[in-house]
Point group: C2
Chain length 199, copies 2
């Protein structure tokens, strides 16, 4: 399959590429240092990426910035960071990319454990995760031409920086390669509307 | 208790007011024809509302517009309608209203069944619902001064217009008064971080 992987240069994106590259053609997209440059917060940039890449069999989003910060200090403006990137960025990949995906292709988006198990400073990011999960579940019943859509929710990774892992006390970190498996399940499997929770 | 009810003029808001007005002081907010006028898509309008109303014991949102339409016809711009109103409008009521709620007060937001049971044309609205549910669940663990936050997810109402009910084939419509009960549970009860699902 020809797979467009957005966020290919990140920790998760790298692991997803490693999991899939033996068997598939991977087109890496990221803000910089990738086959295709894209800024998912800009619809025009998403459109340009799809025009550049042409038709693909699968679109994987392993990206999305979210604001982390104490609830009492989250302003509407700071919350907008999560909305623009993790939420709208990923949803717009689907809205603008649908026509560029071959029949029976797929979309796989990324959410995260904190929508199910809240952590301090995580409300804005959890909001974006919940939005993406519900969008994927709902969009699945209307996808044209046999196209499927799932989301993957991973917990904190063993390879995450220590400063990040400190926000997840008592959470059992997984190897990022385990989260990457769920993307293979989504791309090569036949399910749709699922939220794969790898906790 | 002094309760600020946003969306007081709608079907759900009216039922919530009826459920609570015997026992509490209700301040009705809506775009027009209410004690206080507010447009939740505008942070400045939310701020003005809270300044006008002063301290309250509970904030209830029974409002939020979302875009309904076929998935293939949802553009980023149309999706923005759901983000601006049902999603950000409600989240901003919390972010901007927190300081105006008395100790041990509460927020209660509104989501909806289609995040759990998708319907045709519902992807954008489901996205907003999932965001609000996850935000409330996550914000609950960081609310200051004993303030609680819950969300209420109702199914379609017996009193909903027939044109709307047609989008919910096989769903069992509830009386709107039953959904209103969940708002009383949230306001007068002691739970937090809950999604009350009235299906």
């Amino acid at each position: 399959m020809k797979i467009l992987l957005i966020g290919a240069t990140g920790l998760l994106g790298n692991a997803v590429a490693k999991e899939l590259e033996g068997k598939h053609e991977i087109i890496r997209a990221a803000r910089h240092n990738a086959d295709v440059e894209v800024d998912i917060t800009k619809p025009d940039s998403i459109k340009r990426m799809f025009e550049q890449v042409g038709k693909v069999d699968a679109v994987i989003s392993a990206t999305g910035h979210a604001h982390f910060g104490a609830l009492e200090e989250i302003t509407p403006e700071l919350n907008e960071e999560s909305i623009e990137s993790k939420l709208k960025g990923q949803v717009n990949l689907v809205l603008l990319g649908m026509d560029h995906v071959n029949d029976d292709g797929s979309f796989t988006l990324t959410t995260g454990v904190i929508m199910d198990e809240p952590i301090l400073h995580g409300a804005s990011s959890a909001m974006a995760n919940g939005a993406v999960k519900s969008f994927a579940k709902s969009a699945a019943i209307e996808m044209p031409r046999g196209i499927r859509i799932n989301s993957v929710s991973g917990t904190v990774f063993q390879e995450s920086p220590e400063g990040l892992r400190a926000y997840f006390p008592g959470f059992d970190p997984i190897p990022v390669s385990k989260a990457a498996l769920a993307f293979r399940k989504s791309v090569e499997g036949a399910q749709t509307g699922q939220s794969y929770e790898i906790y």
